[in-house]
Subunit: 197 residues, 2 copies
DNA sequence: TGAAGCTGACTGACCAGTCAATCGATCGCC
DNA sequence: GGCGATCGATTGACTGGTCAGTCAGCTTCA
């Protein structure tokens, strides 16, 4: 685990992102990942105990950062609208920075949470809960109306963001910086107008 | 193909819904479907050319009805809000009527459109286009503001609905009639307030 | 010299799809 | 009204291919 030498574990993880994004988790072979990483088949099992553990690792690495971002946003002194903007921006920038990883997380994990263990489900719920928290605080401050439950608002918000990402993922239309910024604004604008008093 | 005799093709399709919902498309075996249907293994291949064709059939059967419902709603003389309410109501009632089928469609098809052929992608896009059409007409009539593109609004709307269904699918909390009605109202209320002038 | 990093051939299980054979309903014909 | 021909429906054992995960051994470096 030297710093100078290439960290093969990392190389395998990065290769797995590309392979999962290209072929899908179920359809790809472990040997595809090894080939993509330029590494012997067995080495994959030196670092990971199963194909699924690779996916788990990729998901958790990113998701935990997102949970922290949501919590940090809620803890800040910004307006609810700005807080939600920060969350949308984080997710959209994650896609912008590494679309393949986000594709894998959305398509293979977030939307297939039943086939895997319940660990992921719990993590995913934490994200909803975090967003719901933002809404709840806004309601307590009288800034959002209270007809709509926080849980519900969180689902609508997260669902909108994920659906927009899904559109980009599947439509294969190249997206530039202005579209990303525009998307952040539009989502927050639409949902917040619906939630604000 | 008598009326009195059981239509085995239908029996197989219905069994497949249960098996796909329970075990997932990738994880289940064709023999599981045959067993669930109380039918010999080979009969599945008498009616369907592959496991995937069964899933395709289930998806298209339902999705085409939905596309018709969206088109019909847009063609009506109702207000944009009522049109969108009708769409949300259709989807939510579909879930209410047959949650297992909707689970399969959402989890295995809608959200995994990359692994399968592009046929499904096209069908799914048709639904967005239909919803976008409703928004577009509303904008043309000056009822919705035009800052938000119809395509974008459609994604936000559909994404919200699907996310709410996903919550029900995975949370395994029993849902009653009032919750279904409430969900329809809340989604439409949230999104339309964001879109209306 | 020894331990961690690394290799890739091998195996055991699994399963989609095939197929040859049987069943049974319907029909034409005497 | 009985008899066999025909053909779709139905059966389930079998095959061929695939692949996750194993393991025995080699390499490298401290």
């Amino acid at each position: 685990m030297t710093t100078a030498a290439v960290d093969k574990r990392r190389v395998i993880l990065d290769a797995a992102v590309r392979v999962f994004a290209r072929q899908g988790f179920h359809t790809c072979r472990v040997s595809d990942i090894a080939d993509e990483a330029g590494v012997a088949y067995g080495l994959v099992y030196h670092y990971f105990s199963s194909k699924e553990e690779i996916l788990d690792t990729l998901f958790l690495e990113r998701w935990d950062v997102m949970l922290a971002a949501i919590a940090e946003s809620d803890a800040s002194q910004r307006s609810p609208r700005d807080k939600l903007y920060a969350v949308a921006a984080f997710i959209i920038d994650s896609y912008r920075h590494d679309p393949e990883l986000m594709k894998v997380i959305i398509v293979e994990v977030t939307r297939a949470a039943n086939t895997f263990g319940l660990t992921h489900l719990e993590k995913i719920r934490e994200a909803y809960a975090g967003i719901a928290g933002i809404v709840e605080h806004a309601q307590a401050d009288g800034l959002f109306r209270s007809e709509i439950t926080p849980e519900f608002a969180a689902q609508a918000f997260y669902g909108s963001v994920e659906q927009v990402l899904t559109g980009w993922i599947f439509d294969s239309v190249p997206i530039g910086a202005p579209e990303f910024e525009r998307a952040k604004t539009l989502i927050v604008e639409t949902i917040c107008r619906g939630l604000e008093r």
